[in-house]
Amino acid sequence: MELVIEEKIKRTGPVIFSEYQAGEGIRKALSINRQDVLFELKASGLKGRGGAGFPTATKWMLSAAAVADKKFIVCNADEGEPGTFKDRVLLLEYPKLIFDGMVVGGYTIGAKTGIVYLRGEYEFMLEHLESCLEKMRNENLLGKNILGKEGFDFDIKIRFGSGAYVCGEETALIESLEGHRGEPRNRPPYPVNTGYLGYPTVVNNVETLAAIPHIITKGGEWFKQHGTDKSTGSKLFSVSGDCEKPGVYELPWGTKISELLELVGAANTKAVQVGGASGICLPQSQFDRVLAYEDAATGGSIMIFNEKRSMLKVLKNFMEFFVEESCGQCTPCRVGNIKLLEGVERIEKGNYTFAYINTLKELGKTMQVASKCGLGQSSPNSFISILENFKEEIFHTNGNGGYDGKAK
């Protein structure tokens, strides 16, 4: 399994894929106190790699400060964003990084239990991951009084998701862990105070956790050398679509889209979808934009479309995805997405007015601010960006210039 993936692309990279000895991060963290771990993390400027980009140090500090009998650290391995497959590589090839990161997290916030919420489709990894955990237990990197640190007990268990995209949203993930229907919760209160079973809970993406052992061993300043001012470190990109060398790449934040396209051997590229189905779609004219939280933000998904692709079909595909994957709880997302999809279908048939398309764009903006969770808030992104960035192609080249095929 490992070989197949490794053959595809030689893993090199400045941060995540740099040298690391298993247990190194835990040893270092246990040798310093919790505040220093938080300090190092703060210095690194690490932000959540799942896509939302919340500062990890802040998340940890808030839950470290929370007073409770129990705390939890959860690894969000429900990698479900269309076009994302970097966590799969990390889980298969670098579980030591993830688990070490969780142990460091447990030590820092005062949690005794770590839970890996694993995507249902990744069940084949279970044996492999369990054996890694068993090895760590044998080496006392997990268990009681870890590495002789009196009173520091920590263990990790693995739980499966059942295939709902929304369960990648941290509060829906927690609901699912508790055995409920996977629906996002109201925030506030935030999971750092009221999370799994009501206890303070940190939910971190796989990649975020994998960065932590590096930061602890090599220092926040070292981490910061990579990337931009606001987006420190590097990022794993899952590149797919019309290119010669699709795969997982580690690149520093701040890489230009055009640079990435060149690296992966993409030719005649018409559009790049940055951030998966919930991301934005950029046309050629914007390929000089950089991949960073402050510009083109992404949880890692990069989809490349060459000039043969119909952008309307691309959009329809995304909208169908959201209609199906909305949890159905809140009005803007449940009904809004179907309206947007219907809009796409009307464009397809040439049965629309520009006034109505504009109304739908307005609706998209409402969904962005009024939906309950990130799913509904980001689902109109591709609708808005594709219709805006590719209006020539969609409204004119297709010959569907308006109501009954006549422009209005």
Partner: protein
């Protein structure tokens, strides 16, 4: 016995209401916030919605209901909080910092209008063919947000089949707006757990286990979901057309009995503020509609007290004197059909604890088609008995196959308060302006004890008045017969009365501390049943349970909306009416004395009583085929 920590409700979805600090100068107790231009100070943890309400700023709501935990799913109550990227729902957002809130910005207004438009686009049906017309929260919102067209279209064919399998509750999911109030009512408020959201995304709908019809699942038909549904998606099974037919049929003698709770609430259907009873007016209106006789259910409530009280004393005697260990104590009341179905499903092994006495509704049916038919010289086959009840489960109860002691179906139709009001309106009558009139003989006016059956604790109070007096020969030692420990809306109430200086017949009860428990709402019933399971009720003698929060006055057939405030006012109306009655103890009701002297001559719990006034129960369990 405080509220139990409800495990089902996610912590984050429980309301974050922090009690107002008594000392507001307490540091951190109050937070200063700015709502629009107004600077106000609110207790820490108050939601934005509450803060706005207190400051007369209207925020529209749909999924929010005061009886239920917060959901934050309809998103209609969104407001802008400065510094936050997205809009926030006022109903869920606890104020913990000095924030600035804007409740009417262009973004907020547009979002709300969009949400109403989206809901309407999926809401099948026309307002004028809906029983919630003019009492629909979606309709109100549409008006409030100036909806004059369907911006995002309108569904023109139904997506779901109407579930009218049950005798009591009809579900039309085409009108559902997925606010999930019914789900929260069923799971969190009543802890029955029949309804839950099924499927995902656009296919989401509220349904039952395996999407089975309601009649095939463990629904107890309490109808609390109907009372909390903002639209017409849930309604009771309305028999009024059949009743009209009976009224219009000259060969039929149509008799109606009215329960106290509908009388205390029906005014609300005519725009009257809650808290006023219309008993006398209703009598006139019913006669004008064409009912041949109007009787008071309280008569059989009195009868229930005599039968159930006697049964209790018999059980006590068997247990204390005969040392019969097969006697089940405490005795549980049996007048709430929702509670009966609940215990049959959830605690079928405890049915022997239930009193075998029928509910007042069913006793009345049996008496009407026997005693009354005899007295009036009418063939029972031509008598149609209608029961005006605050209840949807009563419709199920009257259709139970064993309820035919008279040789006929004892009660032909159960009618809710809402359906009655509709019939009255159809007849062109404005109820509040009706002159008052009395109930018909031979049952006449009943006692106040029967009247207070409508409020939680009422059965217990009525029973105690009679039992205490029978046993000791003296009036219950409470000021003006107000047995306060039975009153009020606390979920589970526990108290006792000491029996001293007993009359000779009951001297085996000398010195006994008669312990009783009163619970309302099946979630509280569950608490009591779990106590029974753990053996904690071994010293308790009598338990009253009502399936609905507040008792019958909060029943599933009562006017919509409902809230604790409304229920309190209805209770107040009932207690006030009660105190104005000349007779307030069941055993002093002269008509009761008459019926035992002339019809049920073997006395309470005698053979004829057993045949007509007592019943048996079915072990249903929770397994669904």
């Amino acid at each position: 016995m405080g509220k139990r920590n409800n495990l089902r409700t996610p912590v984050s979805q429980r309301p974050h209401v922090v009690p107002k600090p008594t000392d507001t100068s307490y540091i951190g107790g109050m937070v200063s916030v700015q709502i629009n231009e107004k600077k106000v100070s609110v207790p820490l943890g108050t939601t934005i919605l509450e803060a706005c309400k207190e400051n007369q700023i209207h925020i529209p709501t749909l999924c929010n209901h005061d009886d239920l935990c917060v959901a934050g799913v309809c998103r209609i109550c969104v407001v802008e909080v400065e510094g936050m990227r997205t809009l926030q729902t006022a109903c869920t957002f606890p104020i913990t910092a000095p924030i600035k809130i804007h409740t009417s910005t262009p973004m907020v207004r547009k979002a709300r209008r969009h949400i109403v438009d989206l809901l309407l686009s999926e809401h099948y049906g026309e307002c004028y063919s809906c029983f919630r017309n003019e009492n629909c929260e979606l309709q109100t919102l549409a008006k409030e947000y100036g909806v004059d067209e369907y911006t995002f279209g309108h569904i023109n064919s139904p997506r779901h089949e109407i579930d009218n399998s049950s005798t009591s509750v009809i579900r039309d999911m085409n009108k559902c707006v997925l606010c999930k109030r019914c789900v929260r009512t069923c799971i969190d408020l009543q802890e029955v757990g029949v309804l839950e959201a099924l499927n995902r995304g656009h296919d989401t709908k509220v349904g039952t286990f395996l999407d089975k019809p309601l009649a095939d699942v463990i629904c107890i038909y309490c109808g609390q979901c109907i009372n909390r549904c903002p639209t017409g998606a849930l309604r009771a099974n309305d028999p009024s057309d059949d009743i009209w037919d009976a009224i219009d049929d000259p060969t039929k003698h149509v008799v109606i009995q009215t329960a106290p709770s509908p009388r205390a609430a029906i005014g609300e259907e005519f725009g009257i503020e809650p808290g006023k009873s219309f008993t006398g007016e209703l009598n006139t209106a019913l006669k004008r509609i064409g009912f041949d006789k109007v009787f008071d259910t309280n008569f059989t409530a009195d009868l229930t007290i005599i039968e159930e009280g006697t049964e209790l004393l018999n059980r006590l005697k068997k247990a204390l004197v005969d040392k019969d260990e097969s006697v089940k104590l405490p005795q549980f009341t049996s007048c709430s059909p929702g509670w009966i179905k609940f215990i049959e499903h959830f605690y079928p092994e405890y049915l022997d604890y239930l009193s075998t006495a029928k509910s007042p509704q069913q006793m009345f049916g049996a008496i009407t088609k026997t005693f009354y038919a005899q007295q009036a010289g009418i063939d029972s086959v031509n008598i149609v008995t209608v029961a005006l009840m605050p209840c949807s489960a009563k419709k199920f109860e009257c259709n139970r196959p064993e309820m035919n002691a008279s040789g006929y179906k004892d009660v032909d139709y159960g009618l809710t308060t809402r359906e009655m009001a509709k019939m009255i309106k159809e007849a062109g009558i404005y109820l509040p302006e009706m002159p008052k009139s009395h109930f018909d003989d031979p049952f006449g006016e009943a006692s106040g004890a029967g009247l207070i059956f409508g409020a939680t604790g009422g059965v217990m109070e009525a029973a105690l008045r009679t039992v205490y007096e029978l046993v000791t020969g003296r009036v219950v030692p409470f000021d003006n017969l107000r047995i306060e420990p039975c009153r009020g809306f606390e979920g589970v109430k526990q108290a006792s009365v000491k029996l001293e200086r007993c009359v000779e017949k009951y001297n085996f009860l000398e010195g006994v501390e008669l312990k009783f428990i009163v619970a309302h709402g099946t979630a509280n019933a569950k608490i009591v049943m779990e106590m029974l399971k753990r053996g904690e009720l071994s010293d308790v003698h009598f338990v009253e349970i009502m399936a609905c929060p507040g008792g019958c006055l909060g029943g599933g057939g009562q006017p919509i909306p409902t809230s604790e405030e409304i229920r309190k006012k209805r209770a107040q109306a009932i207690y006030e009416e009660e105190e104005s009655l000349p007779i307030r103890k069941s055993h002093e009701n002269p008509h009761i004395k008459y019926i035992y002297e002339n019809f049920l001559t073997e006395g309470p719990c005698g053979e004829l009583s057993h045949k007509l006034l007592h019943t048996h129960y079915t072990k249903r369990g929770k397994y669904i085929s």
